[in-house]
């Protein structure tokens, strides 16, 4: 097998445990949006056009309560703002790619794909095929999101709840996060990020994540600066 396909498969495989947690979320989205009175095709199209779980959930709720369109647009923009940080952190690695690759990877850029793609870029020394790894991971999440949305629309409310899947994504992220904490500054950034996320949990629109990222970066820089 060619190295690029091997990289794609490795990315797809790395994404699998995260998908365990993503599938129930997709089903819940499908069921909830249906209950809010949105049409099946519209619900499915949102998963393709927007492709962002948290924002789709909030958009569906706002449509359901007949919020003004402009408010819905602004809210989903704030919810997805954190992706700009991911975009900036991936930028140096995807710089050599052509425009179509950048468009493809940007479309597939979610929390879940970012987690495995950036750690692959940082940890593994295969810069030549990192984008294939990213593509594999992003594609797996994308296809599972489309399918789980459809399951939610078609059969969702009849499925039994499986609480163990609630923690699959968090446990996978722990497995990805811990090995990248190689120095004190990175550990400080992580501990700060976690603490701020909990303290700021009442913030709406995923701004808790944004606050955690910004304060975490600041503390990481401060700890690094003190040492240097």
């Amino acid at each position: 097998m060619q190295p690029k396909y091997r990289a794609w498969l490795a990315g797809a495989k790395a994404e699998l445990p995260i998908i365990m947690g993503g599938i129930p979320f997709g089903i819940i989205y499908g069921v909830t949006a249906l209950k809010l009175g949105l049409s099946p095709w519209f619900i499915q199209a949102m998963s393709t056009i927007v492709f962002g779980g948290s924002s789709q959930m909030i958009i569906a709720q706002m449509f359901g309560s007949f919020a003004p369109n402009l408010a819905i647009i602004l809210t989903s923009t704030v919810v997805n703002l954190r992706h700009a940080l991911y975009s900036a952190s991936l930028a140096p690695y995807v710089q050599p790619l052509n425009r179509w690759w950048k468009v493809l990877l940007a479309y597939l850029l979610t929390d879940e794909a970012y987690a495995v793609a950036i750690t692959n870029y940082q940890e593994r020394n295969d810069p030549e095929h990192g984008h294939w790894f990213f593509f594999g991971a992003g594609f797996m999440l994308w296809i599972s999101w489309q399918i789980s949305t459809a399951i939610g629309i078609l059969v969702g409310s009849q499925l039994p709840p499986m609480p163990v899947l609630d923690i699959a994504a968090a446990l996978t992220f722990i497995g990805i996060l811990i090995p990248i904490l190689r120095d004190k500054a990175l550990i400080a950034a992580a501990v700060t990020g976690a603490s701020v996320a909990v303290l700021a949990s009442s913030l709406p629109y995923k701004l808790d994540l944004m606050a955690a990222a910004v304060v975490g970066i600041g503390v990481g820089l401060a700890v690094e600066g003190k040492r240097a």
């Binding site: 930028a91 850029l109 929390d111 163990v164 990020g193 996320a197 975490g216 690094e224």
Partner: protein, 99 residues
């Protein structure tokens, strides 16, 4: 129809946010402090997602629960194994034992 138009606009904005730095900026032009700061994005964001998944239930802070216990064991296993699958399995086992 305005429903569909709204979704298309949201899709375009979401894509523009994700494409922003990937597509338009030459990263070498970033100030040095920004380049150094970006190194901390994965650590800060992943830790934040983990913490809000495990310690927040129904918008309330809840630090003592089976999810936190599973997370704590998972952190220990991840520290020594450096791998995702053993981490996931250990966390699942603790969570299932406590539920």
């Amino acid at each position: 129809m305005s429903l569909w138009l709204t979704i298309v606009v949201i899709g375009l904005i979401t894509f523009a946010i994700r494409y922003s730095f990937i597509g338009l900026v030459n990263n070498a032009d970033f100030p040095a402090i920004v380049q150094r700061g970006l190194r901390f994005v994965p650590a800060a964001v992943l830790a934040a997602i983990i913490a809000s998944d495990l310690a927040i239930s129904n918008k309330q802070i809840d630090l003592i629960n089976s999810k936190m216990a599973a997370g704590a064991i998972a952190i220990i296993v991840a520290w020594y194994s450096r791998q995702v699958i053993p981490t996931l399995v250990a966390g699942f086992i603790v969570f299932l034992l406590l539920n």
